[in-house]
Amino acid sequence: MLERIYKAQQIIDKACKQLGRKINIMEVCGTHTVSIFRNGIRSILPANLKLLSGPGCPVCVTHQGYIDTMLELAKREDFLIATYGDMIRVPGENGSLESMQTNAQIKVVLSSEDALELAKDNPDKKVVFIAVGFETTTPATAVVIDEASQQNIANFFILSNHKLVVPAMRALLSEKNNKIDAFLCPGHVSVITGSDIFSEIVEDFSRPCVVAGFEPIQIIEGIAEICKQLAEEKAELKSIYNAVVTEKGNAAAQRMICECFEPSAGYWRGLGKIDKSTYQLKEKYSQFDAFKHFGITDVPGKERSGCRCGEVLCGLIEPPECKLFGTSCTPDEPIGPCMVSSEGACAAWYKYNRKESDESS
């Protein structure tokens, strides 16, 4: 493996020297962010190559309005909130689900199946599943919607904030002052959607898009491929995750998504409202749609004062540039979602890089 890494490093070094300017590569997946920090990948890259963490962590991109809705539902009588672990610590103005856990009904689940089971086991409660995540988790939610519909489970609802990756990438590139030269694209999203979904980025914006897995060697080879393209002034879609990613993806999973959901306009933290970026339940499944069933209007919400998560996840600033980073905002007492989620840029930076950034500043 070391030989492959060495070879990739040589390609990166050569290309960066040749380009001679600052190069910004954005990784659009929280799992990439964690792997990059955990493996110290930044430390072996040339000084003029910068990795930006993009809007790829599901907890981080979730807008404050949704968080507030979730917290409000948790207070209602006869409600049971089923959520993935990372969501329970995201704070609103008056605390997080975790801080409410003693007096409200909140259950951490590992899968959407568990959430549906919870509804079956508690027929006297309204069970609301906090359905967040990208194309990777959407099929699993679709499966339980299908099940709930077939079995006529009347007390099961989802609060959908499932997101699509590509509309967010488009939104970032449409900003005039964006500094993004290329994207490192997530392997696991592509397993579902197929790597083809990124071709519009290459065609419409001429930015290299390279799909890579999460092993450090795959990430480094992905960066090498990007650097090579930039040096050769090319912009192509390449997948170096070929074992599992195909151009067309997993047709069955896509069918499941299509059966239950349709892309609609939705809010993102830091990016505002983006057209066709959020999966909404189709009309025929509206009985499971918590927004519709309980008459909730989705609003952008107000971010907590001082928190710059929006800028962090657009790659506009690095976490230490936020005044609260490491002072009043730490993983023990997070202020914004980027410090809550283990995949958030602020948390990764704090855990794996904090002292280095202290020393260099």
């Binding site: 493996n39 110290g40 990948i41 430390s43 993935y84 951490v108 997070p334 989620s341 794996y352 890089n353």
Partner: protein, 340 residues
């Protein structure tokens, strides 16, 4: 002698009356048999030979009670033995307190007591005093166990963070993350749970051998809650020295790594129950590793790094498998499984 005929623990089993007496005589004593305990005195009288004594205590509340590779009883004995052993003590005796929820099944209690008795025997330690309380349903979650332990010092052995110097070697006696991920995957009902096995083990024997047969051991700590990351951070901040660790030298089982990746955990922060980190003088490191490797609990022992000078805030650095660098810190908050 016939065991108690109730199938479940009643509140009266902790009331100090006839049922308590029955519980102790029929269920507990036969499994932990030794002369001191058999006297059932208010206090145990111990004979020991060293000038100083080591004394420690810990409480155990693990869920699930029975996991792959152990149970709460084994854990309660091993944990306290290990706390004594890594401090450089020879474990002498333990106390055992049970706090049991009303309605707890005798079958489970017996299984736990069997395991306590067997683990104590395997580790050559007697349980010399104890207590049993019962609380009403909901008062505790099934059973909580507290053990305390005393140990005597081993001649010529004195361990301490103040003894550490740059160039000392950092050694671990085997693979990390096994206990935490085994228990977690079982608790969450994950499909790969059967492949994972807790490393729960009493380290008194191995550490005794090491301390008696090598010199140059400066400090030891068992890498339990917070995992290797917490232990190394404590050693670094306590000694005010830096530590440099090579990821490629840390033993990790592939199935454990796969489970950690799936849940999104940093394996360095996952709990172990049969692993110690030792800081050893460089000249003694090879002997130390040799003794470990000859012992069943140290077959995969590895020198994972070294102590280095520190000019600023003491820091633990990891040289990753790809040659990158990052820091290792005390784990923060509660690690939560990630979304995708």
């Amino acid at each position: 002698m016939k065991a108690a005929k109730n199938k479940k623990i009643l509140l009266a089993h902790g009331g100090g009356g006839r049922l308590t007496e029955q519980l102790i005589r029929h269920n507990i004593l036969p499994k932990l048999r030794n002369d001191v305990l058999a006297k059932l005195g208010d206090s145990a009288k111990l004979d020991f030979h060293s000038e100083s004594l080591f004394f420690t205590t810990d409480s155990y509340v693990v869920k699930p009670l029975f996991f792959n590779g152990g149970d709460i009883g084994k854990l309660a004995v091993c944990g306290t033995i290990n706390d004594l052993a890594v401090a450089g003590a020879r474990p002498l005796a333990l106390s055992l307190s049970l706090i049991i929820e009303e309605g707890f099944e005798f079958a489970k209690l017996d299984k736990i007591l069997d395991s306590i008795g067997q683990t104590a025997k395997e580790n050559n330690v007697d349980i010399v005093t104890g207590d049993t309380k019962t609380v009403e349903a909901g008062g505790v979650d099934e059973i909580f166990i507290n053990t305390a332990g005393v140990g005597e010092s081993i001649e010529g052995v004195e361990l301490g963070l103040d003894k550490l110097e740059a160039t000392d070697k950092v050694i671990i006696n085997g693979s990390i993350g096994d206990h935490g991920l085994s228990v977690m995957s079982q608790r969450e009902g994950l499909e790969f749970q059967t492949e994972l096995l807790s490393d729960c083990a009493g380290l008194g024997g191995l550490i005794g051998q090491l301390l008696e047969n090598t010199d140059g051991v400066k400090f030891m700590r068992d890498a339990t809650r917070g995992g290797l990351a917490a232990t190394l951070s404590e050693i670094s901040s306590g000694s005010k020295l830096n530590i440099e660790i090579h990821e490629k030298n840390i033993p990790i089982k592939p199935s454990v790594q796969a489970a950690a990746d799936m849940l999104g955990f940093d394996i360095l922060t996952i709990a172990n129950e049969g692993k110690f980190v030792a800081i050893v003088k460089p000249e003694s490191a090879d002997d130390f590793v040799k003794i470990c490797k000859a012992h069943p609990l140290g077959k995969e022992t590895s020198i994972i790094g070294k102590v280095t000078e520190s000019s600023g805030e003491p820091t633990v650095r990891l040289i990753t498998k790809i040659g990158g660098k990052r820091i290792i810190q005390m784990p923060y908050g509660r690690e939560l499984p990630r979304i995708c």
